[in-house]
Structure formats: structure tokens, C-alpha cells
Symmetry: C2
Subunit: 196 residues, 2 copies
């Protein structure tokens, strides 16, 4: 409720917000989180720093909200009727080019998190927690359909398994996480671990 009220009162249109977020992600790709400044964002988007701070509070929240904006609707809208279908939809709703870009951005953020408590907080509250909630919903529906056990301890590790696929793909295989790779990982690892 509070957030909706804030959004209504905001002087920034959704189009302008999308434009700002795109500029922030461009800058993030160019210089990385640590070197990104609010001055650079203000200059690139022709806005005042005062507006940026009033609207987002600070760099961490602005960057994480830009990431979240790009991923919006990711898990929430998926409901295919089977657990395998949901996981596959999750992976195939984004083409390989976007997946590679997003995965590079997320990797950069996940790295910067360790030296920036503000960023860690925003990252967890605005990106990790909502993702966990969505995954729990997907698993709950699968349990309701009788596809998996609701008390399988693996259920708590779904995000760990998926993050492993993304992180290790670059490190072990020196390849970006393509749809093909993620689909085979889901079938070989995630679904068997969940007992589906």
C-alpha cells in the first residue's frame, strides 16, 4: 500500500522510469557497480541528482530496481500446469542473447555485493526474496498437484541449484548459460533432486 501511494505521488512517468533504468544498466555494463556514480547517471539521463536521490534513496536501490525492472514478470506469470513446464518456461521466456547480458549483469552485482552492505540489502530485499517467494509458489502448486512432496528438504535449495548453474557455467565450461544448457540442467539435476 505504502509503495503504491509513493508511486502515485511520483512525478516520473513509467516511460521515463524505463528510460532511466535502461541508462543505469548501460552504465553498469560499461563501468561496473563500484565505479558507477550518481553524477554519471544524472548526466546520462539528463536528470538532477536531487530527483534521483528523492526517488530512489541511493545508488544501491536505483541499480537493483533497474535490474528488477528488466526481469519484471519473470516467474510470477508462469503457470503451465506442471513443474517441469514451469521450470522450462522460466528458462525459455528469455532468448540466449538477453540471458547472457542479464547473467553478466547479475554476476557483476553478485560480486559487488560483498563489499557493499547497502547493495547486499537491496539485492536481497528486492531481487532474491521476491524470487524465493515465486519459486515457493511454483513448488506449492506442484505439491498441491501431487508432483512433489511439500516437505522435501530439496525444496529449500531450488535457488541454490539454479544459481549454481549460472555461476558454474562460466567458471567450469567457459560458456554463457544458454537455454539448452539450463534445460538439460533442470532435467538432470533440479527435477530429480525435487523428486519430480
Amino acid at each position: 500500500m505504502a509503495e503504491a501511494a509513493t508511486t502515485r505521488r511520483s512525478r516520473i512517468t513509467p516511460e521515463r522510469e524505463a528510460e532511466l533504468y535502461a541508462a543505469v544498466l548501460d552504465l553498469l555494463r560499461e563501468v561496473g557497480y563500484d565505479a558507477l556514480t550518481m553524477d554519471a547517471v544524472a548526466a546520462r539521463t539528463r536528470s538532477s541528482k536531487a530527483t534521483l536521490y528523492r526517488q530512489w534513496g541511493g545508488k544501491a536501490e536505483l541499480v537493483v530496481k533497474a535490474m528488477r525492472h528488466q526481469k519484471r514478470g519473470r516467474v510470477a506469470d508462469i503457470d503451465t500446469g506442471s513443474l517441469r513446464g514451469d521450470f522450462h518456461a522460466l528458462v525459455t521466456h528469455e532468448d540466449d542473447c538477453h540471458m547472457e547480458q542479464n547473467s553478466a549483469l547479475m554476476r557483476g552485482l553478485a560480486m559487488a555485493v560483498h563489499g557493499n552492505p547497502d547493495l547486499l540489502k537491496a539485492f536481497r530485499e528486492l531481487l532474491v526474496e521476491p524470487e524465493l517467494v515465486e519459486f515457493r509458489r511454483v513448488l506449492q502448486r506442484a505439491a498441491d498437484r501431487g508432483e512433489i512432496r511439500a516437505d522435501n528438504p530439496a525444496n529449500d535449495f531450488v535457488l541454490h541449484m539454479m544459481i549454481g548453474a549460472f555461476a558454474a557455467r562460466t567458471l567450469i565450461d567457459e560458456l554463457p548459460p544458454t537455454q539448452e544448457f539450463l534445460l538439460s540442467y533442470i532435467d538432470a539435476v533440479v527435477l530429480p533432486a525435487l523428486g519430480a
Copy 2:
């Protein structure tokens, strides 16, 4: 053979080598990979830069060999007679304090890898590949004992699953990867995915 010959010809004793590696890891913890210089290593260890370059070729190889030295014997000596025993031994041979330190160092290296092709090469050749070989040996023995199928596609993802546990533990749970956590992850995720 070539490596053995080089080692024999080396003027550095195993004790001196261990001392050097410890100093490199201390520096790595203090300043991170990118800010670590061969000058600093030479000063800290009272050795000449010429010696360091002759012996290790460069910073990437020196740092990765220092990491490998600390982990030496990690998987290779383990053979408990069961797959679950092997995985548990893997996790419990190191106490939580060392695990947390090593995991922070590995995370730092894994981050630096993306901007440093030399480091990526050394990291893969000297740390990832040997680990993969050892995991394959553990899995092969389990297949020989009839515990798992040798052709289970999950076998190729063991390192992905384990890296996920380490990487996601900090990010999702804001906690270091303790033995207790890793044991429950192995029982809940890794062994079921392998069909053990």
C-alpha cells in the same frame, strides 16, 4: 615428467615454497587479486621479482598455485567405500573456520577471473580441471559399486551443484558455507540428483 624435472632443478625448498604461498594468500586476503602486485609479494617474502617470475611465470599462476597448495590432497585421498561417505568426508575434512576463509578466497578469485584471461586459464587448468578429475573418480567408484548409474546426466553437473551451494549460501542466506549446511545440501540435493 617435465614438471618433475623443473621442480628438481628449482632452488626453492618445499618449506620456502609453503612460506611463499602463505604470504601470497595473506596478501590476497588483504588487497584482492587486482591490487596484488609481484612487487608486494617480493617485498613481503624477501625474494627477488626475478625469482618469482622464473619460478611461477606470473601473478596468475603464482596465486592459483598458492590456492591449490592450501587445498592439496582435498579430494584425492578420500575413499570411504560409499558415495555418501566420500561426499561427507570431502566437506568435513576442513573445519568451518578454514572453510569460511577458503571460500572467501575462492570467491575473490572467481570474481577476478572475469576480467583476467591469464587468471581464468590458470584457475581452470590448475584448480577446476583437477577437481573435476577427482569428482569423476569418486563417481566412477560409486558406479562400479552399483550405487549410481555411470550414464546419469547429473554426473556431469556435480561441480555445478557444489559451486551453487557455496555461491548461493552467501547471497541467499547471508551465511558462510558451514559443514552442517553443506552436509544437508549434499543429502537433499546432490545425492538425490545422482540417484544415489
